[in-house]
Symmetry: C2
């Protein structure tokens, strides 16, 4: 199997997608020349770990360097040019222009295949006062060092943007004892998830002292004696010692654009399922690209580490194997975040995204324990499932809870990849022993509830709002109903329901509610089987009732 | 939606399958008469929690009673006859003969539909000395109470049988400070898994002071002054204060057999995918039945809580919905156990089972971290994957490690249910943030390695045994190679491999080995691309090297 291949592969960007492509390429060939061009001083570092070193949870900075330029040279026999920026691509001449950031010299390098993995840079909108050394972003080790060296004189931090990175930073900075205020333009944190699913996160943040300002944007910044003042759209202003901007990223596609390579509407490089761009022998991978969207059609750019790594591998495969390579099946956007004691995430499409795409869907939200409820440490997981009314195919899932959220997301991600349906979820046979799961896992429960909706056994009520003005029967024990009240409900605990049917008007729809959404379903079944138009409020008070810190 | 149904459903067995069937049936109809016959004093208890109450981890006995006869009556309007044994079934007369265990009276009860969920009873082989009040089994709350009341005068416990329950009991009794010796006829614990996968469990048990006697059976028991002496096949004898027999279960199918209902070769009641037996309107669910085997064909009896619950639900559905009910798709045997700090389990078919069934398969074993290796607390998971060489379909998976085993089993269980292939595993997009996963999860790695085997990039060596007598190159750093040595290997650390190729004979196959199976693969790729016949030892020294406590 000796290979006589002496092609030259040039890769722009030496981190997730780029280094992965280089590594896989080298495993295909010992003779290919492989050159990695990296603007920064580092390659192969763990971007995703940066917030955790700032917060001290990853104590050793060296842990973040998965490989160094030297180790890449040695292990993979690569040419690694750090502190070197690619400034132009010429797809006709098959060459890239380079500029050394240490001495400013320009040079050019030829390629047989070019892989673009330049990533995406944090958005820094051109608003008044943005040029301020106390307004920082976080993408690489240097950014991290900058934030860390500002910590000693920082008491209060403003985080702008409540996405994954913003929440991780809020958590880590609170761990460090900083006063944290988080500003988010949307009326919710984690806009990737549906609003009702992140309410527990918002409570958790507030509970840990993070001030949340939702539905308010930044108009500009001013300098104050001690720091920076963020001026909000609402007119409000927030003074802090440091601002961290985490309002999203912008694909670094300027080079590609200048070279005439096709871009999508949001500036991503459009690729096919072998990561090929519109230019021959030019591939793009990672945050810079948008690839075919398996969920809603068209193309989608998803800025995540796993996709970047596997897209890099796909590009390398295609260079050596051609169309025999395994195509990249598209990203479904599985993501997760830990926020203090809570875990929350999404896989596939959210309700918001399906609505925006005009795709028909059905939704259910259920609660279930992270493992057997009778075994110590069980925590409630709230799981939202979206599926297609046409064929029952699972379109997306979201989950939040204190334990086991990652597992449920991974099961749903696998189900989405495998085009499983709600019927399949009913009978997933998941690992069950008391420390690990339940005889009926919350995933099965979601399948039960979804098929019950399809089959007419569960008439779902998505929000308390919907129930407003109707007869609401709270079937919890009186004490539970009092502890977390559902406004305007009458309390008839389930065990007495059959004997108290006379108290409920049969001529009107009845909305049942309980703590978790299970007992209210049981009650609704009883009522329906006695001739009532009975509907069950999904997720119960645990999910729906208004609470302090909301 | 009022229902006018007044059928009478009789259910034999009031725990996992039976109570679930009753509950679902009641949700279908308020007017059906539903009678549950239970021999014991309890219904709806958490069998799976019994070992953990014995060990004190579940402190409150009441936690184990998910429902009581009274609460079932009240919530589900059931007739619940406890301490009542069904002694005969007459499918022609549609009646069941009952005997009260409190007063011995006999009666009979008619049914429209009968659901059998009598479960399976612990095996108690008729060997000499078996009739000894110090030889106990564990199935229900009474058994548990019996074991617990023997604890004060018990110092040493012999556990016979190293399956899931035996291991749980070993762990819990060791927690209580008992001296534990575990005897297993097979040369390994957890015979449901392949032998090499349970070696870490065996080490863990021994590390925690559990004495393992493997590959040795019980010939009989004798009484000694202080307790009971187990006489082993090897001639050895073991004296203890108490013996717990956990050598498997026997379906309680005598009633069905006597009624002429069709049984399988191991005494299970054979059912179709609606849980129907050979007798009209008689269903069987749970441990007593064998249902169509989705993995190797024919029928299979799988004694697990999840299947029992969902089969019970399926039977109830079929009674009310007929063939519109969702069929039970068959059990794949997903199971898991915690043994001190380790977690281990299986889903789908093991290598053993595939071999026995004459089904062609391919296998790979990989290691990967439970979450990002740079984030604190990452633990190594060893994952074995089995797939079909015909179409790449996943047939089974096994995993062992200190964290995250349940998640990987659940992903594989979902993949098996969805008929996913090794190609699909490559691109599963699992939830990744540093506390939860890796950009390339060990599940992806299993997909990479499996497809690499198929595509000829990885020439796998399943065991060190296979490598014996061949050139073995250990590519770990010298210190690592010395710390956990691989016998008869030469050490050439990966970074120096390319420059030291001259030391390796090109005319012979080269077997590479490392710690985890990754670097050896990298080395084998280098060698192969330089013209060597290179093979990589799967799972590395972590998985393969001989160790103390083995
Ligand atoms: C703080 C933070 C936390 C994150 N957390 C997670 C997480 O928990 N989970 C998750 O899945 N993802 C996470 N991500 C996202 C993940 O890191 C990215 O999706 C991934 O790194 C993208 O890989 P890439 O190769 O496309 O780009 P990058 O990894 O960003 O690499 C691109 C490299 O290209 C270089 N470059 C750009 N232009 C040029 C040029 N013209 N010449 C030379 N070099 C150039 C850049 O300097 C950069 O180093 C996180 C990202 C950040 C910043
Ligand atoms: C100690 C232990 C730990 C376990 N751990 C796990 C685990 O971690 N994970 C897992 O998935 N599974 C586990 N199981 C297995 C799980 O409990 C069973 O698979 C499940 O309970 C089977 O349900 P079933 O309804 O078929 O039988 P059962 O739950 O056993 O119920 C059958 C009932 O029928 C009654 N009965 C039998 N014959 C008659 C008759 N003639 N008349 C009246 N009543 C009758 C019996 O008294 C019994 O109560 C465990 C089992 C035990 C014993
Ligand atoms: C460090 C880096 C260069 C490694 O790239 P890599 O070598 O492709 O990736 P890994 O170290 O995970 O190894 C994966 C390879 O080892 C193989 N492998 C891993 N474990 C194995 C095992 N136990 N047995 C056999 N093969 C194994 C895989 O099959 C794969 O090889 P393949 O692609 O040829 O199939 C690259 O991932 C990187 O730069 N990462 C840092 C940046 C980043 O990912 N950021 C975003 C997340 S923080
Ligand atoms: C206790 C027992 C009677 C409960 O049976 P059950 O009511 O069918 O089961 P659950 O309490 O899990 O509830 C499941 C039902 O609630 C519904 N449900 C659960 N959570 C819900 C939620 N949040 N929203 C809507 N519906 C929900 C499910 O859809 C399902 O109803 P369906 O079958 O009509 O679709 C039975 O499981 C039992 O006896 N268990 C003990 C024995 C045992 O299982 N042993 C082995 C394991 S230890």
């Amino acid at each position: 199997m000796a290979d006589m291949d002496s092609k030259h592969i040039v890769i722009i960007g030496g981190v997730a997608g780029g280094a992965s492509a280089a590594a896989r390429a080298r495993r295909h060939s010992e003779t290919a020349r492989i050159t990695v061009i990296e603007r920064g001083p580092d390659v192969s570092f763990a971007n995703c770990g940066l917030p955790y070193h700032i917060g001290g949870e990853i104590s050793d900075r060296d842990e973040l360097a998965l490989q160094t330029p030297d180790s890449l040279r040695q292990l993979l026999n690569l040419e690694v040019l750090t502190l070197t920026e690619a400034t132009a691509i010429d797809p006709n001449a098959r060459s890239v222009t380079l500029r050394s950031l240490s001495d400013g010299t320009e040079s050019s390098i030829g390629y047989d295949q070019l892989i673009l993995s330049p990533g995406a840079s944090p958005l820094r909108p051109p608003i008044p006062g943005i040029d301020n050394e106390r307004i920082l972003t976080l993408r690489n080790l240097e950014d991290m060092d900058r934030i860390m060296s500002a910590m000693p004189e920082t008491r209060k931090v403003g985080i702008v943007g409540g996405g994954f990175i913003g929440l991780e930073m809020a958590e880590q900075l609170a761990h460090l004892g900083k006063e944290v205020v988080l500003v988010e333009l949307q009326p919710q944190v984690l806009p990737q998830l549906d609003a009702e699913m992140v309410r527990p996160l918002q409570r958790e943040l507030r509970h840990h002292g993070v001030e949340l300002i939702l539905g308010d944007g930044i108009n500009g910044f001013a300098r104050s004696d001690s720091g920076v003042v963020a001026q909000l759209g609402s007119g409000r202003s927030v003074e802090c010692d440091l601002v961290i901007l985490s309002i999203g990223v912008r694909p670094e596609s300027d080079l590609a654009r200048a070279a005439g390579i096709e871009l999508g509407p949001r500036g991503h490089i459009t690729v096919d399922s072998f990561q090929r761009t519109s230019a021959p022998d030019v591939y793009a991978v990672g945050d810079v690209c948008e690839s075919p969207d398996p969920l809603v059609g068209g193309h989608v750019g998803i800025a995540l580490g796993g996709p970047a790594n596997r897209q890099g591998r796909t590009a390398a495969d295609h260079i050596f194997l051609g169309d025999r390579a395994l195509p990249y099946p598209g990203s479904i956007g599985t993501s997760i975040v830990r926020v203090f004691g809570l875990e929350a995430g999404v896989t596939g499409a959210s309700e918001k995204r399906l609505s925006a795409a005009g795709i028909r869907y059905k939704a259910v939200t259920v609660n279930g324990p992270s493992h057997a409820s009778y075994f110590p440490g069980a925590e409630t997981i709230t799981l939202k499932l979206l599926w297609s009314p046409e064929d029952g195919r699972i379109l997306g899932g979201e989950a939040v809870g204190r334990d086991g959220v990652d597992k449920r997301l991974d099961v749903l991600a696998t189900a989405i990849r495998g085009r499983l349906t709600i019927d399949d979820l009913v009978h997933l046979e998941l690992a069950y022993a008391p420390p690990f799961g339940s005889a009926k896992d919350v995933i099965n429960t979601a399948g039960f509830a979804a098929t019950n909706i399809r089959d007419g056994f569960l008439v779902p009520v998505q929000t308390l709002e919907e129930a407003k003005g109707h007869v609401i029967v709270d079937v919890r024990p009186a004490a539970a109903a009092a502890a977390l009240p559902v406004p305007d409900s009458v309390n008839i605990p389930l065990p007495s329901l059959r004997s108290r049917l006379g108290e409920i008007d049969k001529s009107k729809p009845v909305y049942t509610v309980c703590q978790m959404g299970k007992t209210s379903y049981f009650a609704a079944r009883i009522l329906a089987n006695h001739g009532y138009d009975a509907r069950s409020i999904l997720g119960g008070a645990h999910h729906q009732a208004p609470r302090p810190n909301d």
